[in-house]
Symmetry: C2
Subunit: 220 residues, 2 copies
């Protein structure tokens, strides 16, 4: 049997009609800035969304849930930008901040946080360990692939991080959720990505609640 | 019987993932600038697209064709920006230019061209007459509605013209075709439209060839 190929994947990545994946003015209380949760509401009432929010059973099990769930399947490590770990920029004021994600983060794998400001790894409950790396996309991916064993590596965002990995041609699978709102400002997923369609095939599926799942698959 | 409401409609309006509805560098040979026909290819092989290009019968009759055809239904007048009439800017060098659209333009109705540089109306074959107006959206719409009789008025584009009519809250129905390409630069449909979803309901349908039809319907 051929060994399973190890993929580098992006999932559930919400983007507005004008291409922004996060808003402006990110703070502790507003992790997506002025965008609020408008790019994420689509999964709140899926079965997976309800489970993750501790809202108990129920929720839709249709197309939105099917896509949401793939985020958690066969992933052995995540790489994220510093903004997905916390709102701070520059040197860490202290090392008490352990991420937006609570005591039991949903990752349950090693997570590599890209930052120029290194600090010791943090071992959380449930199998999540945050490692801090100041490294190129290729180098941190090599380390994450090693950590993931036979499983895949998820690029968790934000948009600048995804773009860096696209620029380095390291993404195999990119799942974008187009949300039909106009944000006007923020951080674009598409900046500098004019050549995207030369490397990726794309498939579009609209969900009954009005978001569009775009799957970009890198050509073999 | 209640009289049919007279609607102001936009149809088949191609937009890239980064929100551009036309490219940069528009010339006589490149009516959409560097975008080429990437935002329009989706309808070339529909039955309506083949008919309009004089390529004879055949072509798809599925969802893309259904949407394309609505563009031509129950429309009694069109309003367009000057860029949809020709590539010239500033004063007309002469009046020999009669538009991109050939001797028998596809409109078959009065067409009001918005420009600061007026010139006499041009009566073409097949019922199309181009009128040149330097007027506010509300004023030119009032004139077009009168000309359309019982029928609707189409706002034909380009993106700046559509935005002016959105800003004046004069659009009832906006059909956008999201094409999953990244253009990087050009004229955005979404600039300044952050409040769009406060006034419009939206529905999304993906077509098998990978474009997404978004229908924005103004709330009653």
């Amino acid at each position: 049997m051929t060994p399973r190929p190890q993929l580098t994947r992006v999932h559930n990545f919400g983007v507005s009609l004008d291409g922004f994946a996060t808003g402006e003015g990110r703070t502790l209380d507003a992790p997506f800035g002025h965008a609020g949760f408008r790019l994420h509401e689509w999964f709140f009432d899926t079965a997976m969304g309800r489970e993750m929010q501790g809202r108990g059973p129920g929720g839709s099990r249709g197309v939105d849930n099917v896509y949401t769930e793939t985020n958690w399947r066969d992933v052995g490590a995540e790489i994220m930008g510093r903004g997905k770990f916390g709102p701070q920029t520059g040197p860490w004021p202290d090392e008490s901040w352990q991420g937006w994600w609570g005591d039991d983060p949903p990752f349950h794998t090693p997570v590599f946080v890209l930052t120029h400001h290194l600090r010791p790894s943090i071992e959380m409950a449930g199998g999540t360990t945050f490692h801090f790396r100041d490294a190129s996309p290729a180098d941190v991916l090599a380390e994450a692939q090693q950590a993931a064993g036979d499983l895949d590596v998820r690029i968790g965002g934000g948009p600048s991080t995804v773009r860096e990995f696209l620029d380095a041609d390291l993404i195999d699978h990119l799942h974008v959720v187009l949300v039909p709102v106009v944000l006007g400002r923020g951080v674009s997923l598409w900046a500098g990505q004019e050549a995207l369609r030369e490397r990726f095939d794309v498939e579009a599926v609209a969900s009954p609640q009005g978001v569009i799942h775009l799957t970009f698959t890198r050509r073999a």
